[in-house]
Amino acid sequence: MSAPAPTKTGFFDCRDSFAATIEALAEADPRIVTVVSDSVGSSKLAGFRKKFPERMVNVGIAEQTLVAVGAGLANGGKVPFVSAASCFITGRALEQVKADIAYSNVNVKLIGQSSGVAYGELGPTHHSIEDLAWLRVLNNLTIIVPADPWQTEQAIRAAAALDGPVFVRVSRMPVPALKRADPLFKIGESETLVDGDDAAIIANGTMVHRAISAAENLASEGIKVRVVNMATVNPLDETAILAAARTGAIVTVEEHSVRGGLGGAVAEIVTAHDPVPMRIMGFPGFVPTGSAEWLMEHFGLTAAGIAEAVRQTIARKR
């Protein structure tokens, strides 16, 4: 497949990767359909609609039916990719996600688009910084938060290959393609992108490249920090989390609320096994008006902010 075009030099919109991958998968597997709620453009599915018009179901602005129709299509033998803004496909249709998808344990792929604070100035109604907290407690539901275009493609392919419900959280925030010595994606397995034993940063999604920059900055001070990309939030890579705890200090970073997301998930494991000082970075809750970039800056979700959090957490090491 052709690589998606960069949005600015070296940066990519992961929705392009989603769109290219779903089109390629649909060519090979006639069971694949997409389901949208007037969300063709925001899901970048215009190309899919042109190629497979009869395999796109648009239910209109109706998220409960969007998700439930996905469950029904799976019952009818389809492999539905249900795609809408993450804030609506989760919050508006949460009981459908719980009962029709997770509890019924059906083969539906939910794609939460433009997650986190990507909608910036549109405000907390359109931010999706609660989605991981809402979904993480649901049994059966695999949750993936890819960090770059390559991992987005891998996540979509893995979701299609898995017989069961999956939520993939896709961002529209520009991210660079991460450098990997040995690219391998498996659901439930994290990847260590920077080695180090003085502390560990566990991040996912748009925060991974910022965490890597933070680690590079700290390395120049002689502080060796591990960076773990925890793309799968359900099921968690407990082995990698416990290994991170053995560094003696953990900082988690996510484009999500500091309550109930990746940080909470990591803390559940760490406190049950090997408690160490932790810092959970993210958003405190409903945020004020500002662009996505401004919000990240404001709440310290930058290379400098993450590096400072690592220094402070190392200072708390026992």
Binding site: V33, E54, R55, V57, V59, G60, A62, Q64, T65, A68, V69, G70, A71, G72, L73, A74, N75, G76, G77, K78, P80, E95, Q96, A99, D100, Y103, S104, N105, V106
Partner: protein
């Protein structure tokens, strides 16, 4: 299925009547023994369920995931007394298992779970979930031009859930002729009459306005139900809504049209009186 010979049709109606009576007796026994359940709705839906499973649906209980099967979605998932009874009668699991209803670790949870029990298409319980899922099943059939039909049974109070009307729009828009909704129109919801709570009338006009074909029948008349549900949908070009006028607690004098039997459970005397009437 074809309903040509009148004698065969009469036999079928007689079988349905026999099964409906059995569902009422067996589900009431389940509710009595569990001291939990929703017997009023079990009784209002018993005739619709018996008609579907013994006159209309094409299914093989030994192949519950057969892609060609007709689908039945039990949206009023609280009426598991009747639903589990009809599934057992249809052969999906042994009738002897019905005595485990709501017991610890039983497959027969208060609301149905497809991962426990064959014959359950989707997990229901919260209201307003069955129709949207059934719409998705029908769309899959429409995309494949498949032969199977999809049926869904909702309560009437349940139609106060907005999700139904989202799904109704999509079904009408897509002209899902392979989809049939049956509304168990007993006019009573948990706490009061529907029309005193959030009125639904004129219910037939509402469905027509959403692009559906509507039939209004006596939901306790097996011959009427068989005729309207058994008719081929080909060429109708619209989803079908069958408003089945029913009575909560139908079949037992002291339960008839009585809201307190929504989730009322019988004592020994009431149980014995009901069983004496259900003959």
């Amino acid at each position: 299925m074809p309903l040509t010979a009148p004698s065969r049709r009469n036999d079928r109606v007689a079988t349905i009547a026999e099964k409906a009576l059995w569902i009422r007796r067996r589900s009431f026994q389940m509710v009595y023994e569990a001291q939990q359940g929703h017997p009023g709705g079990d009784f209002s839906a018993a005739d619709v369920l018996a008609t579907l499973y013994f006159g209309v649906l094409r299914y093989d209980p030994t192949r519950p995931n057969d892609p060609a099967r007709d689908r039945f979605v039990m949206s009023k998932g609280h009426c598991t007394g009747a639903f589990y009874s009809v599934l057992a009668a249809a052969g999906y699991f042994p009738e002897s298992e019905l005595k485990t209803y709501m017991q610890p670790l039983s497959r027969l949870n208060g609301h149905p779970n497809r991962n426990y029990l064959p014959g359950v298409e989707t997990n229901t319980g919260p209201l307003g979930h069955g129709l949207p899922v059934a719409v998705g099943i029908a769309i899959a059939g429409q995309i494949d031009n498949a032969d199977f039909r999809t049926f869904v049974l909702t309560g009437d109070g349940e139609l106060q859930e907005g999700s139904n009307w989202e799904a109704a729009l999509t079904a009408g828009h897509r002209r899902l002729e392979n989809l049939t909704l049956i509304v168990d129109r007993n006019r009573l919801q948990q706490g009061a009459r529907t029309e005193e709570t959030a009125s639904l009338d004129p219910l037939d006009d509402k469905w027509r306005a959403f692009g559906w074909h509507v039939e209004v029948v006596d939901g306790h008349d097996h011959a009427q139900l068989l005729d309207v549900l058994g008719r081929s949908p080909r060429g109708r070009s619209k989803p079908l809504c069958v408003i089945a006028n029913t009575f909560k607690g139908k079949g037992v004098s002291f339960m008839h049209d009585n809201v307190s039997w929504h989730h009322g459970v019988p004592n020994k005397e009431q149980y014995e009186q009901a069983m004496a009437e259900l003959v």
